[in-house]
């Protein structure tokens, strides 16, 4: 509204429109109740002022009234709860064909990595009208990726990946804030999300990153570190074959089944002994200290790309392998 005095954040994504509807509903209901209480207190204070009333009328209570003003609010709260929960579930469930962008947060900047190889610092260029999924981790402390124009926020943790997805609807430049206190320059850890219409985005993309795609960077690293000597693409390797493994359930030596998602891959590189695949021995060395977060992301991208016939970046939704117990837990 007023550029120097905003009272409503701009709406730049589907999630923003969805949320604003709930927010306005909350405002109306709570505003009405609040005004009602203010009016009642004021009216009672004025109408029953001590010099207007001879003696107070003792009223012990009313169970009917108590029940009513317990159940009616509870009913209204249920609406707030369900509506908010549905939005939350949608926001936390990225759609299947979302384009992926990797984010590494560190004190005190945002490093963004496109799968095609472009790297950005504190600025993220995305196309309008596409589902975009961010896969994020931190190099040091907890940060939080906050875009008010999208009404979205997700803490970014060291030691694991968290995700945030959005569908921008309006080209423009929007604030990116770090929203979890992270030390000295917490308030300096800000940037922009640049939403571009398709033509401009293509132009920007073709500016390109000089190093090739993220997955190809990962492939180079994979070879450099000698991973292929055990993780062969046949059954002869001392380590599991990684082709097509991403996104599928994995049976572990101890009988559990887990999904091979980003967190699983990352953990297996840094701490292989934590989850040993069934039928294999605990002989993989740890690469803790050998690879940094960005290199880990490139390896994850590479392993994702080993999907066989599936295009790269997809999370597979194939059924469980035979003999695996019914439910797995994703980290």
């Amino acid at each position: 509204m007023f550029p120097n005095f905003p009272i409503w954040p701009v709406r730049a994504a589907v999630s923003a429109s969805n949320l604003d509807a709930l927010f306005i509903f909350l405002l109306l209901v709570t505003g009405t109740v609040t005004i009602m209480i203010f009016i009642l207190v004021t009216v009672f204070a004025l109408r029953y002022r001590h010099d207007l009333v001879d003696k107070a009328t003792p009223i012990l209570g009313s169970t009917a009234l108590e029940t009513t003003w317990s159940l009616v609010p509870f009913g209204i709260f249920l609406i707030f709860f369900v509506w908010g929960a549905v939005l939350y579930f949608q926001e936390r469930t990225p759609p299947r064909n979302a384009m992926e962008i990797y984010v590494v947060a560190k004190q005190w900047m945002w490093k963004l990595q496109h799968v095609d190889g472009q790297r950005e610092i504190n600025e993220l260029h995305v196309p309008v009208d596409r589902d975009v999924k961010l896969i994020m981790t931190s190099q040091d402390v907890i940060h939080s990726f906050f875009v008010p124009a999208f009404r979205l926020k997700q803490d970014v943790l060291p030691g694991r990946y968290t995700t945030l997805w959005f569908h921008a609807i309006r080209p423009g430049t929007y604030h990116l804030f770090c929203a979890e206190y992270c030390g000295t320059q917490h308030s300096g850890m800000i940037g922009s999300i640049v939403v571009m219409n398709p033509v401009d985005y293509e132009a920007w993309l073709s500016g390109g990153g000089g190093e090739g795609s993220l997955a190809s960077t990962g492939q180079k690293l994979f070879q450099q570190l000698g991973c292929g000597s055990c993780h062969r693409s046949d059954t002869q390797g001392r380590g599991p074959n990684l082709v097509g493994v991403f996104g599928k359930p994995v049976l572990l030596e101890d009988g559990r089944t887990v999904t091979a998602d980003e967190n699983y891959v990352r953990e297996s590189i840094l701490n292989p002994g934590a989850k040993i695949a069934a039928g294999f021995k605990n002989i993989m060395p740890s690469f803790q200290g050998v690879v940094n977060e960005e290199q880990l992301l490139s390896l994850v991208a590479y392993i994702k790309s080993l999907q066989g016939s599936q295009p790269s970046g997809l999370v597979s939704n194939r059924p469980a392998v035979p003999n695996a117990p019914a439910q797995s837990k994703a980290k």
Binding site: D254, N271, G273, A274, I276, N282
Partner: protein, 222 residues
């Protein structure tokens, strides 16, 4: 005996209470409420233990293998015996048998000291085996990172427990001293009961710690 015992009891009545019954009731209740806070304090540690066990139970099995089973078991027996002697001390003073009370309290203290000594030997053994978390930690088996976490919880939980045993020794010693000075009798021995409550609680915490640390996943060699 009964007259002087009652006189003693009246002498111990604090001015803000109406009568001894109210005072004893209040002080016992106070000890119970305090023990609830202790449950919550240890509870936080148990929650951390359970959370990590769920995440890393292979490491937990591994870590438990490296516990000193025999010291742990002997210590369990020692603490249970100390609870027995504590109960006997309370029984004794309820019957007005002051000398027996002092003996039982002393034996309780001896058992408690034995517990701490054995614990010290155990800790020392872990230290020598590079199982003390921190820069000296070294573990050759699987998932050393999370086995170290097991040891962190082991030392934190048994460490806070040992601190409470130490405090208990102080409390029992105080009661012993007071008994020797003739403060307690059939009619007045509420502090002995309350210290007994504390002592049983400390024992109870150990009875939960022992299986969680020493027995899960533990199998004897051969």
């Amino acid at each position: 005996m009964s007259d002087s015992s009652e006189a003693l009891a009246t002498h111990e009545l604090r001015h803000h209470f109406e009568n001894m019954e109210q005072q004893s009731g209040a002080s016992s209740m106070g000890m119970w409420v305090f023990l609830v806070t202790e449950i919550m304090f240890f509870g936080g540690m148990f929650m951390a233990y359970l959370a990590y066990r769920y995440e890393y139970f292979v490491a937990w099995q591994e870590g438990s293998q490296h516990m000193d089973f025999w010291i742990g078991t002997v210590n369990t027996a020692v603490l249970i015996c100390s609870s027995l002697t504590m109960v006997l001390a309370v029984l004794a003073i309820q019957q007005g048998r002051r000398r027996l009370t002092s003996i039982m309290l002393s034996v309780t203290i001896c058992f408690a000291i034995a517990f701490l000594v054995l614990k010290g030997i155990e800790y020392h053994g872990h230290w020598l085996a590079h199982e003390f978390p921190g820069s000296s930690f070294h573990f050759a088996g699987i998932d050393p990172r999370h086995v170290e976490m097991f040891f962190v919880l082991y030392f934190v939980m048994t460490g806070f427990h040992a601190l409470h045993v130490l405090i208990g020794i102080g409390l029992v010693s105080t009661i012993l001293y007071m008994n020797q000075r003739g403060h307690f009798s059939t009619d007045y021995h509420n502090p002995v009961e309350n210290v007994g409550l504390y002592w049983h609680f400390v024992d109870l915490v150990w009875i939960y710690l022992y299986p969680l640390l020493y027995l899960i996943g533990h199998h004897h060699a051969g």
